[in-house]
């Protein structure tokens, strides 16, 4: 597929996205009513907001292109592409990113979106797992997440998730690291104030995976969490630790109803 063809397809995609964005912005406006929650988007400067809103300026969209190619590429011993089972992502993946993490069929622990993609790889494509934070995995995740842009975050009503969510909430409030800080101390008690000149966001996972300018790369929520853990001088959990999924469950519940804006740009 030539880049030009991809570009043409992206144009078609963008018309749909424009509609989705209109929907998304009305949703944000609606939140302005009684809802005091702020997405990180609202704490960015206008230049960065424009960068995120323009799909030809948002560098995360480069990875979405890669993800679109990965979606169509057959892989593994089964020689199947994502598209062979799931068809057109715009239809089959709509709203998916807004409800993960979830417990897959036959399992008893929740997985996040990346985990779900890797499950598909090992079970259905009979391929090796994509390494965490690898470009291929991030690109696929971004492509899938894009299909839920503008959708309200809607965690599933699975009663089994409750216990994991509570564990996530406990980690969020747990003081840890040499600085002896908890997530809640910054992101609940001091959100909106400054930390080293930067506005402390309320920690809503509305735009992952994000293109963070500081990283000059696309990164997952896990990478962001590791960043914070290192920041408070705590030891980050291992790359595939269940703690990240627990935290994400808690965050998604906390951000329930907020519009997904993935893939976002952050400073």
């Amino acid at each position: 597929m030539t880049a030009r063809l991809v570009y043409r397809r992206m144009r078609v995609l963008r018309v749909g996205l424009a509609l989705a964005l209109v929907f998304g912005s009305t949703l944000v406006l609606a939140q302005g009513g009684g809802d005091k929650r702020r997405s990180g988007y609202q704490d960015m400067g206008p230049a960065l907001q424009k960068m995120q809103d323009d799909d030809t300026a948002n560098p995360a969209m480069l990875f979405v292109q890669l993800g679109q190619q990965g979606w169509a590429r057959p892989s593994g011993a089964a020689n199947k592409a994502c598209a062979d089972c799931h068809g057109v992502a715009a239809a089959s993946m709509k709203g998916v990113a807004a409800r993960y993490p979830a417990i897959p069929k036959g399992a008893d622990a929740p997985v996040d979106l990346e985990g779900r993609i890797n499950l598909c790889r090992t079970e259905n494509q009979q391929a090796a797992k994509l390494p965490p934070e690898s470009r291929e995995l991030l690109a696929l995740t971004a492509f899938v997440a894009l299909q839920s842009r503008g959708q309200p975050i809607a965690p599933p009503d699975d009663p089994r998730l409750g216990v994991f969510r509570e564990q996530g909430a406990a980690i969020y409030r747990l003081r840890q690291g040499q600085l002896n800080l908890s997530c809640a101390l910054c992101h609940d008690d001091n959100a909106g104030k400054k930390l080293a000149g930067v506005t402390i966001p309320e920690a809503h996972p509305t735009a992952y995976p994000i293109y963070r300018l500081e990283w000059q790369a696309l990164g997952s929520l896990k990478r962001r969490l590791r960043n914070c853990l290192v920041g408070i001088r705590a030891e980050p959990y291992a790359a595939d630790a269940p703690e990240y999924v627990m935290l994400e469950l808690f965050f998604m519940d906390r951000a329930r109803g907020m519009a997904l804006e993935a893939p976002g740009v952050r400073p």
């Binding site: 880049a3 030809t56 560098p59 890669l66």
Partner: protein
């Protein structure tokens, strides 16, 4: 495979200045950074970006190692005649990407 996002108008009035924006996936490795093994990573940057309008060069920049990953270029050109805008990135390690977008001038 090239990963490029181009934003250019499809139509323009004659004499109008149109903005053309282009974003490309590229590591822009500076050649000054040590890698995980302590050795300097070889430089890998885009050296030159040129834009042509029906084959005539209208814009050119030389990029340097200080320019960020995935460089974003935005420039204006005066619409004179219908045709194609050609964009060309070339650089280290034989990097070469060419893109074309059509524009109709009335």
């Amino acid at each position: 495979m090239a990963n490029v996002l181009v934003n250019a108008p499809k139509t323009a009035r004659r004499g109008q200045a149109v903005e053309i924006k282009a974003l490309i996936l590229h590591p822009m490795e500076t050649g000054f950074r040590p890698g995980a093994d302590g050795r300097i990573l070889p430089r890998n940057i885009i050296e030159l970006f040129t834009a042509t309008w029906n084959g005539v060069e209208v814009f050119r920049i030389e990029l340097s190692p200080a320019i960020a990953v995935n460089p974003f270029v935005s420039f204006f050109a005066v619409a004179t005649e219908s045709g194609t805008i050609g964009l060309r990135w070339s650089g280290d390690e034989g990097f070469l990407v060419e893109e074309q977008v059509a524009i109709a001038v009335e």
